[in-house]
Amino acid sequence: MGILKVVMSNLGNRRFSSALTTISVAIGVTLLIAILILSSALYQGAVFQGGGYDMIVGPKGSATQLILSTVFHYEVPIGNIDYEVFRKLAADERVTKAIPLALGDNYRNYRIVGTDSTYFMEKEDENINGVIATGRFYEEVGEVVIGHMVAERGGLKIGDKFVGAHGVGDGIGGCSHDHHNEDTSATDPHHNDTHHAHDLEYIVVGILEPQNNTDDYIIFTPVESVWEAHDIHASHQTYYHYKNEGYHLQEEHEEHHEHHEHHHVDKPELTAILIQGRDIVSLATLKTAIEADTHYPAQAAFVAVVLRQLLKVLGDGAMVANVLAYISIIIAALSILISLMSSMAERRKDVAVMRMLGASKNKVLTIVILEAVVITVIGILIGIIGGHTLAHWIGRHLQHAAGIYVNALQYWQGEGITVITVLMLGLLSGLIPALTVYRTEPTKFIDN
């Protein structure tokens, strides 16, 4: 028989309170681990997703909203900016890369985003089909390439045709135009045709490789498709063709305006432009220039700056959650303490007997501490499994709602520290009752 046997049988003798204290430890650890995983994953996801771009240009308004709605496809866009802004930026020598984004409608709550192939390319000469899992990249207006989760969950496959529903959808956390703020409605081109079903029929021509970010939940199409869907018949050719040809975007507009009762914008617009700049100085002067332009009003937001603010908010949130989780752990440790203390009266006699039988003070000290440690360790083990499971489960919802990928089934940095901290607390909760028996004078608790 080993000392652990004595410990386990003691715990077994108080099955109910042992189970309760174990559960309380397990709950605390579950919370700690889940919060750790989720906040780390969100942090990583945010940095990863915002990584590529220096600056986002969009309509004047909240910089945070601009970044959330464009980089993360989260929240509703502020509104639109004139396409002219893009033309100027694309030609600007301070800009190394400018990617147009036009948020269109949604299909089953998957956002339809108009952009061009540069969105997917790290380098200019990269083969665009590298990001395509099946099919090919879009070439014509109306053609779409879908994120891999759209294919998986949205049930779309190559060759499928569909019509977009109005609004950006709320599948990625955005809300429909019905919920639009009043102040954004002024610049909202769809303000008056909330229930209008668009005629443009999209066709799936490709499915993207898994990106493990929000792009997995997006339907991509040429910018012109988005315009087309909103009756800005710029062209049935894609941007690549007209971009070099000085294309006239407004020529078909007049005619269309008469055909519809709805008000439509009379010129092509973009929701945002993703910018990579030559250097920080160029970007700074560029930002000033963009925001000073009164003819084409726009704002330029530095991704890093906004991201830092966002992460700070995220960090604060995680901190509050962490504090709560630690409080629950401390309560768990206290419950171990109380449970051990309340059993000490009866245990004193056992300890005294053991001392009379030749158990050293250290042995009885070890026995009591081990009781707390065993409870803590079992609680931790359950908590680790529970925490990962919880994070995995929440992560799947997060992925669907915010597109942030949470790999909960791996070891996350910080878990080790968490486990050690909890173990220490458990040890401490055993140490106090252990010291009271340590000092027990054996003869005092033995009645003869």
Partner: protein, 233 residues
């Protein structure tokens, strides 16, 4: 086996100093069986505890098996108790969360001189000797008083102690059962050449011992006739 020289034990109480023991010299030979008698409060338990090293004498020498118990350090006393002394209590004091077998194995865990297999083997043998082979995995609460005390006897013999200190071992058991338990204890001690010091009140038991010692004859701290007033419980 046991030699006590100039033993004194004084307790500090609210009413001042209370001298419980004052023994000039007393000796027990190896293999002896001694019945220790005396009224309540005459220091019998205290004496046993001093012999086992659980209680330190205020003054004097305690020699057990050539070991100066009073000079041992705390951990050495623990080891000494685990290896040399078997204790049997009036109210058994088995560990309730452990089975009969585990209770017998407990002193072996403390002595740490056998592996788990040996522990189990020895414990089974001992429980067989006290006729409890059919109760190995019973918890104390599921055993009768007589059975519990037999487990306690097996436990006292676990480390092949050569001295058993029994403090009114039959005090909580009915007469007939107590007699059987006592027979068992006495026989096992004889068989294993174990020295037995047993506190008892019962006239029946006294007659079964070759040596009966009234503590008042060796303890100068108390005189015959005084105990009723001075040591009232």
């Amino acid at each position: 086996m046991i030699t006590l020289k100039n033993i004194e034990k004084t307790y500090h109480s609210t009413e001042g100093l209370l001298k419980v023991l004052d023994i000039d010299f007393y000796q027990v030979a190896k293999g002896d069986q001694i019945a220790l008698v005396g009224p309540s409060g005459s220091g019998k338990t205290t004496l046993l505890n001093i012999i086992s090293g659980v209680v330190a004498p205020t003054a004097g020498e305690v020699i057990v098996d050539d070991i100066r118990v009073d000079l041992l350090k705390e951990e050495e006393k623990d080891k000494f108790r685990a290896e040399k002394i078997g204790y049997i209590f009036q109210s058994f004091h088995l560990i309730n969360s452990l089975t009969a077998l585990e209770n017998v194995m407990l002193p072996m865990l403390f002595a740490a001189n056998k592996d788990k297999k040996q522990q189990q083997m020895v414990a089974k043998e001992l429980l067989d000797k006290v006729k409890l082979s059919h109760r190995l995995n019973h918890k104390p609460t599921n055993l009768s008083r007589g059975e519990q005390q037999r487990v306690a006897i097996a436990r006292a013999l676990a480390n092949e102690a050569n001295l058993i200190l029994a403090d009114e071992p039959t005090g909580n058991i009915d007469y007939t059962t107590g007699m059987k338990v006592f027979d068992l204890l006495q026989n096992l001690c004889v068989k294993n050449n174990v020295t037995l010091v047993m506190v008892t009140h019962s006239q029946e038991f006294k007659s079964r011992f070759s040596k009966v010692v009234d503590i008042r004859d060796i303890n100068k701290a108390i005189k015959i006739g005084e105990e009723a007033t001075q040591w009232e419980f």
